[in-house]
């Protein structure tokens, strides 16, 4: 199911999209966290560095002061005392700065307080020694003691600063260790997440490209379908239209325009424009149907005519059915077909049928002429001949009597020709209905008709018990009459004829010369005689109208009898087959379907 497939893949894509979105978000979060961490540690380092610098500044200021003092003491030059003042200021500033920097570190605050104390002490000593030096008392014990003390204090300051630097380094090292521990996993995790994202992306791509392929195939199919629809529309002369029920908007296919004799999409497809093509006599009918269509949203088969702009009238047939899609959107899908050819063909057939009927009527009136008008004068000739024979026999010369005999022979031959021809033309299927017929009785009736010849020739006719079957009784009687009289006629001289009529059943496949038939089993009636027979080469020919194997002087006959037999058997959807051997006899086999 393509639709299921597509909906499945759509859901699949949604899931993938969701997952990807989530992964990217997570990745972003993680990356943000790491970057934050990184900037924190940078801050730490910078902070550490500033603390260092301030401490160094302070130390160097102290050192400057120290060296200035020393210089003064040695040279007694007061210019050496100049940096002293700025150093004090510098130290004050640095201390303030340090205090700010290490606000969050109580240990350092404590250290700073301690340092300040030490610096103050050192500065006090410094001052004292400086005063002593100004008093020009550098060699005094007091001065030396002060000098030593200053040096000690200075060392303790230096020591404290070192201590503070070490503490700061410790703090930095701790932070570094912590952040290194945290940051060391980050690239790996990011890498994995990236790989995962790529994988998902790849998977999505595969899925989308697969879907695209399917869609492409489907699109091609749709395109082909559309083309074939267009083609079939053209070939079968129909057009499609859609009525969008809610918007009351129509869509016509190109061929619908063509059917109206217009260029495709050459006018706006709407009801009003369409009705302008409809035959004036049919407008009302069609409008009625359309209003019903609008009301019931359905259009049963309707017929109407249209007139193309070139004036030709076409017959249309239309049908439409409502289509409601999943969203409840209603469309009426319609098909309109041009059935002009159909109707014209139908009219043609009707006309032909009428012609056929007329010619059939003519034929049957010809039959009547043959039966009545032709027979009447002949009958009179014969009757007058018989009168002549009865009344005037004695007045006729021998040749006169001979001529009368000849006329009699000719007229009786003409009579049998007319009779047989009539029989042949009357042997029609439509005239009689099939009924359950006792075949034995019909054969008996045929024998009764032939009683005279049978008695004359001392013929023996043996008939099997034949089951009754659906047949046209008088035709079946005629069939046996013709076949039996045929056998009696072509009997061997000086031998009394012996005819057997036997019955059996035959499967369709065993019926000779029959390739296909809708019946399975056949009644099989065989009429066999031991007469003069005939050459097997003529087995088919003997059934042809007016075909005779013998000169009419040898055997009387019109050459119609067996044609009638064939016609009768064919009327019963059966087959008749002749088999013969000269001097041995003839066999006629009749196959009649068991219905």
């Amino acid at each position: 199911m393509p639709f299921k497939f597509i909906s499945n893949s759509e859901r699949f894509l949604k899931i993938i999209f969701g997952v990807s979105l989530f992964v990217v978000l997570v990745m972003g979060g993680v990356a943000y966290r790491y970057i934050k961490e990184l900037s924190n540690s940078i801050n730490d380092v910078q902070h550490n560095y500033q603390v260092h610098i301030e401490l160094e500044k302070m130390l160097s200021a102290l050192k400057d002061a120290e060296s200035g003092k020393r210089g003064f003491i040695i040279s007694q030059d007061s210019t050496f005392l100049l940096p002293l003042l700025s150093s004090n200021q510098q130290i004050e500033n640095s201390l303030e700065e340090l205090k700010k920097l290490t606000l969050k570190d109580p240990q350092q605050q404590e250290n700073i307080a301690e340092l300040k104390e030490k610096i103050d002490k050192s500065l006090a000593i410094f001052e004292k020694t400086l005063q002593l030096s100004i008093a020009n008392n550098p060699d005094s014990r007091e001065f030396i003691a002060g000098f030593r003390e200053g040096r000690q204090t200075m060392n303790s300051v230096r020591f404290k600063i070192n201590e503070m630097t070490a503490h700061e380094n410790d703090v930095l090292g701790l932070a570094k260790e912590k952040s290194v521990r945290r940051l060391s996993n980050a690239p790996m995790l990011l890498y994995y997440v990236l790989i995962l994202s790529l994988l998902i992306l790849l998977l999505t791509y595969l899925q989308i490209s697969k879907n695209l392929k399917v869609l492409k195939v489907k699109n091609e199919l749709l395109e082909t379908f559309k083309k074939s629809t267009t083609q079939s529309e053209v070939i079968s002369k129909h057009g499609n239209w859609i009525w969008h029920v809610e918007e009351d908007v129509y869509e016509y296919s190109d061929n619908l325009f063509r059917l109206l004799g217009e260029e495709p999409q050459s006018f706006e497809p709407n009801l009003e424009n369409y009705l302008s093509f409809v035959h004036p006599d049919d407008v009302e009918k069609l409008s009625e149907h359309v209003s019903q269509m609008i009301e019931h949203e359905d259009l049963p088969f309707i017929h109407y005519r249209i007139i193309q702009k070139n004036g030709s009238i076409k017959h249309f047939k239309a049908y439409a059915k409502i289509l409601v899609d999943a969203d409840g959107y209603k469309r009426l899908l319609g098909t309109t077909a041009d059935i002009t050819d159909e109707i014209e063909n139908y009219r043609l057939i009707e006309k032909r049928n009428l012609e056929l009927e007329r010619s059939n009527k003519e034929l049957s009136s010809f039959n009547y002429v043959a039966s009545h008008d032709l027979q009447e004068p002949l009958r009179k000739i014969q009757t007058f001949l018989s009168r002549l024979e009865d009344k005037e026999k004695d007045n006729l010369s021998n040749s006169g009597k001979l001529y009368i005999e000849r006329i009699k022979a000719s007229s009786s031959r003409m009579r049998s020709l007319i009779d047989d021809l009539l029989q042949f033309s009357r042997t029609n299927k439509s005239e009689e209905a099939l009924e359950d017929s006792n075949i034995n009785i019909l054969i008996e009736a045929a024998k009764t008709d032939l009683a005279e010849i049978i008695a004359d020739k001392k013929a023996r006719i043996i008939v099997d018990d034949i089951p009754s079957m659906r047949a046209i009784p008088f035709q079946i009687k005629q069939l046996f009459l013709n076949l039996l009289s045929n056998s009696l006629k072509y009997s061997r001289e000086n031998t009394s004829p012996f005819i057997t009529v036997s019955y059996s059943k035959t499967n369709a496949s065993d019926v000779p010369k029959v390739s296909h038939t809708k019946y399975n089993v056949f009644h099989t009636i065989t009429i066999m005689d031991k007469g003069i027979g005939f050459d097997q080469d003529y087995a088919e020919k003997i059934f042809v109208l007016f075909n005779r194997l013998h000169n009419k002087n040898e055997y009387s006959g019109t050459g119609i009898g067996l044609s009638i037999c064939k016609k009768i058997v064919e009327n019963h959807n059966g087959y008749i087959i002749a088999k013969g051997e000269v001097g041995v006899g003839a066999t006629f086999t009749i196959y009649l379907p068991i219905t």
Binding site: S371, H372, Q375, R379, K380, Q382, T383, F384, S386, S411
Partner: protein, 148 residues
Amino acid sequence: MREDYTYVVLADDDEDDRLFFIEAFEELKIQTKVEVYKDGIELMCALNQPEAVLPNILFLDLNMPKKSGLECLIEIKENNRFKDIAIAIYSTSASEEDIENTFVQGANIYIKKPSAFNDLKKILSDVVTINWQYHTNGLNKDNFLLRL
């Protein structure tokens, strides 16, 4: 109970056939009275005379101008006054259905005009004899169907 003679009437437009008919009865040794009419209209006029003597057997040719034998037959069968007349259709030839139809319409006898005069005599004699037997032996005339 026998009647003196059988009264037969023929309606046939063919002059020769009327002649054969009259001659055949003349030669037959049956006491008959024969009357011929040359078409259906003439026949029906004669029969419809109030004091007309009705024939025992009426022979009708089927194919007659103006009024066919079948029309005469139907007209006669509709009139109860003619119920005792045996109707014989006397025709050149017809299909089996035509023959059956005339019987259904009430004909008693169907005769195909023979082509030998002696056959005609035999047939007419048979018709008169059998009709007479129906008459004298009180047989059911509804079942009187004869084809010759």
